[in-house]
Symmetry: C2
Subunit: 419 residues, 2 copies
């Protein structure tokens, strides 16, 4: 895409109420636009990143047998009453329709997915199975903050699994644990800084699990065991700091950003909706349930928090809005023609390109490229053209090098790990 066609602009000024690096950089770069505190529009660059994150999550959920569905945001009062959450789920946005009928905006979807799946499940032969969706959630947060980290409307992937017994849930839970690690590595988090973290549980299990990425700006306090590569959230420690897996007492305190969580729900919701199956003997038994969340928009915000420098964002290769940020310098026709040719060649090779074709000074173009944070910048100028080369600058590196124009598409593909 040509930069001159993009309707958004970068901005030098930090929004007054942007209280976090991700809100500042994503807004300045033209990735998001705030509509209400904690409620954002995704602009073309931001939506490309979000969709790539969602697609990685989707692939990994399908790899563990998750079947994708899409539930509505509008949910009826009755289902929340049935689980006794209508009156005590503070974050529910409640509203009325015609005839004074009451609804809530989906803050989570156990109340919808449980009776839904009940309608299609009869005997043990129908179990286990898992469904997921990628959809917006709504929470009436007293104080939305930290850009995409804590929103009032935000993206969520929620997976729900249904089992005949606890053993089945336990097995599936372990599978999802591994799938989550794959998601976080694929979207670009450093596995050495990503911890499966023991957190407070529910009625069914002593613990739930969170995934925490180490970051100085993280809200959570975690204690890591470097032997087991797990952590414990401070909220469940009672002075007795030891690794729940190996008993190691030499835990290290860190700050973390939560990027996912998984729960064993047991029969908390299936009991409420009388969701039972017939076992081999025809006896009715309650279905056992698990739920597993990852927020794609929160992932996007967290990636910016852990991967930026003073000039802007540094996107991981897997979720970058474009593969190449292509720049032509000056108004020399030969340079413009050559850059146009490179643009076409890259596009033809399946390399997505943001081509800064504007009549702007080199400094302006370089500053914008650094802010937007595409991993690979290619510059063509009169000087490089003489040498039949382009300047090759990786966003994460300080120094640029020169690369022959011939074979540029192949080199860019190799940079992205493609043949």
């Amino acid at each position: 895409m040509k930069y001159s066609q993009l309707f958004t602009r970068t901005s030098k000024t930090v929004p007054a109420d942007a209280d976090s690096v991700n809100a500042q950089l994503l807004t300045r770069g033209g990735f998001i636009h705030q509509e209400i505190a904690g409620v954002y529009t995704y602009l073309p660059l931001g939506l490309k990143v979000l969709r790539k994150i969602e697609q990685i999550i989707r692939e990994e959920m399908e790899a563990v047998g998750g079947q994708e569905i899409l539930m509505p945001a509008m949910t009826p009062k009755e289902v929340w009453q049935q689980t006794k959450r209508w009156d005590n789920f503070d974050a529910l946005f409640r509203f009325k329709g015609m005839g004074e009928k009451e609804y809530a905006l989906g803050a989570t979807h156990e109340e919808i997915v449980t009776p839904l799946c009940r309608d299609y499940t009869f005997s043990y032969k129908d179990l286990p199975f898992a469904v997921f969706q990628i959809q917006n959630k709504f929470r009436n947060e007293p104080r939305a903050k930290s850009g995409l980290l804590r929103g009032r409307e935000f993206g969520m992937k929620d997976l729900y699994s249904f089992h005949a017994d606890e053993k089945g849930l336990d097995r599936y839970y372990e599978k999802v644990k591994k799938a989550y690690h794959r998601v976080f590595e694929r979207v670009g988090f450093n596995p050495d800084l990503t911890y499966l973290t023991y957190a407070s549980g529910g009625v069914f299990s002593p613990f739930s699990h969170e995934y925490q990425v180490v970051s100085e700006v993280g809200e959570d306090h975690i204690f890591t065991c470097e032997k087991c590569r797990v952590a414990v959230n401070r909220e469940i420690l009672k002075g007795n700091e030891k690794c729940p897996e190996c008993g190691n007492k030499n835990l290290i305190e860190k700050r973390g950003i939560e990027i996912g969580n998984i729960f064993k729900l047991g029969t908390r919701f299936t009991d409420a909706f009388d969701f039972k199956y017939a076992d081999e003997k025809g006896e009715k038994k309650p279905v056992i349930m698990g739920c597993y969340g990852i927020g794609p928009s929160r992932i996007m915000g967290t990636l910016v928090e852990v991967s930026h420098d003073e000039d802007g964002m540094i996107w991981p290769k897997s979720v970058t809005p474009f593969h190449v940020h292509l720049i032509s310098l000056g108004t020399d026709k030969a340079v413009l023609d050559q850059t146009e040719k490179v643009y076409e060649e890259l596009n033809k090779a399946g390399i997505t390109v943001l081509f800064d074709d504007r009549d702007e000074r080199a400094g302006v173009k370089f500053k914008d490229a650094d802010l937007i944070g595409i991993p690979l910048r290619l510059v063509i100028s009169g000087r490089t053209l003489e040498k039949k080369s382009a300047e090759w600058k990786e966003r994460a590196e300080k120094k640029a090098k020169e690369t022959p124009l011939k074979g540029l598409a192949e080199a860019a593909k190799a940079f992205y790990g493609e043949k």
Copy 2:
């Protein structure tokens, strides 16, 4: 995908409150599940159809330069007050958050997109441009009905264009008209039954335009001019029935389902948000605006209304949930092994397959295949296996034929018009 893995089931019974063929068949086939009147969950089969429809729309919107964004469903009261619609837009769902702050669920997004685009538009050089989103809308319909045709929460693609002058809007409007015809043809509507229809306009133009598909169950009355291939909605006729393009008075009355509409908004919204640009002389002028809607979920429901028979749905090739409905008959190991092999071969060739691997009678499997409506059914049984063939049955045809197992994937690809 194997049918035995699919968590949904088909059903013989028609839902009590399903008042339309699309609601009945889509529910019975396991494509959608009603949560509230006019509010549905998309199940795996239904979501696949919806996503294909959305992708066709996306491609055609990008082909006319539309830049995809994603706006939130939560919108602040203030923007609706600014356009004087807070108090008189009956279909708005209004709700309150913390501190008694008021919001509306997006019933349309002019109130969000106009100030958003204003923030990035300064001079005539920034115009024209167009943005679109594919996102759910919410409308407090007094009576939701007709399945996916009139929902309270429903999918919408809304494109908005911004221009320096009326001529620019007129030119773009004509481009979008053509793009809409391409969308409707690609998703599977018969172009001979799809009419650009003159409908009531707004403040800016005497007419708006709808796209109507002829159907006996259509709510709208239209009068078609077969010379110009356009129609007029009854609502704008005042006894004087003639074609607005050629003056032809020989119009034919038909019933239609509206599947899209386009409006020239002029300065209705840009004035409200003081959205101006600087022209060549530096003078401030109001931006001229157009908007263009298509409901992907409504398209899905309409396709069922116009393409079904007494046994079930008949999906167009372009939006079918799977390419092939593969069936093995009997429990003979040789048949099961061969069908498994065909399943793998088709998958490898990029043909998506719903493989009915259940231990069910032929009659049950055939009935389900007819109900689900995948355009191509392939059956392998002891009888076909002897002849090294499969039964080839197209959903839209009455008769089956036999096709050699060898070259089956190529034949299926050719059926779908791929090399």
